[in-house]
Symmetry: C2
């Protein structure tokens, strides 16, 4: 029988953990801020990882944003040199977007780094932590799917299994 108050304690610690991450990021300014991987420009960057040249339309479909917003973010990314935009030859309405090397590097920078704090865990603890995260993440996948059974939000699907491996193949 699961102990509710222990769950509560854990919940608090998780919040604390997130707070601390946030504070730590304030200090590193820009370097490893993965808050911003989940919206706006970051979201687009991520959505481009596993493709090479995708139309804005397809982008829109996977990230669940209006075409206008999408276009705006793509443009911003272009200005930052993280993506390129070029007209398709086969369909002249279409704009193809692709990551530049700098774009790819940017994502990597923002997701790769092994947080320093993991160094305090022993091998055993690391093992346990892996385990726990697997369970939790698994549950969250399920919860999300339940909450959004239409699955029309392909962005989710997309994120969920592919991205990380693409970015950091073993």
């Amino acid at each position: 029988m699961t102990d509710i108050s222990s769950q509560g304690k854990t919940a608090g610690k998780i919040i604390e953990f997130e707070m601390l991450q946030n504070i730590a990021e304030d200090d590193n300014k820009h370097e490893s801020d993965y808050k911003m991987l989940f919206q706006g420009q970051g979201k687009i960057l991520l959505a481009l990882v596993d493709t090479d040249g995708i139309s804005q339309k397809d982008l829109v479909d996977r990230i669940d944003m209006t075409p206008q917003s999408t276009a705006e973010f793509v443009r911003k990314l272009e200005r930052r040199g993280l993506v390129t935009r070029e007209k398709s030859i086969t369909d002249k309405r279409v704009t193809l977007v692709r990551l530049t090397d700098r774009g790819r590097a940017e994502i990597q920078k923002r997701t790769r780094s092994i947080p320093e704090y993991l160094r305090v865990l022993s091998d055993d603890e690391l093992q346990q932590f892996n385990n726990i995260l697997d369970k939790i993440n698994g549950q969250m996948y399920r919860d999300i799917k339940d909450a959004d059974p239409t699955l029309q939000n392909k962005y989710h699907q997309f994120m969920l299994n592919q991205v990380l491996h693409k970015i950091h193949p073993d």
Copy 2:
């Protein structure tokens, strides 16, 4: 000897965890979005938890923001009915800010809820998880202190040990 690749795996899972939280929050819209506890209005709300009536000046000192921004956020919170502002009688320059009940409730709403996903953990795992989080958080406290030894950023100090217990006393 700690296994680096295992750390890498864990790092990936943590990112995945954060992604999933973010996605889940998209669905709940507004309800439990603790991303926004760490900036702007949320930050102020949090800074008010353990006080009853604090001057904007003191607020500024603890949250590391300009007085102007602070004033702006306080005003916004006032409009939302989450704080009150009143002139001090002893020093007529001073504006005292305090949380309303609704403000307090708001914070609670945003921090209290025990994430559903914790239910998949056994008592043992919960125990392990608590342990791990303690270790990690402890390390992060230390890292932050190291990175910012001036400690001039009192906001950090403030957050770190007090808030959560105030919000959810056992």
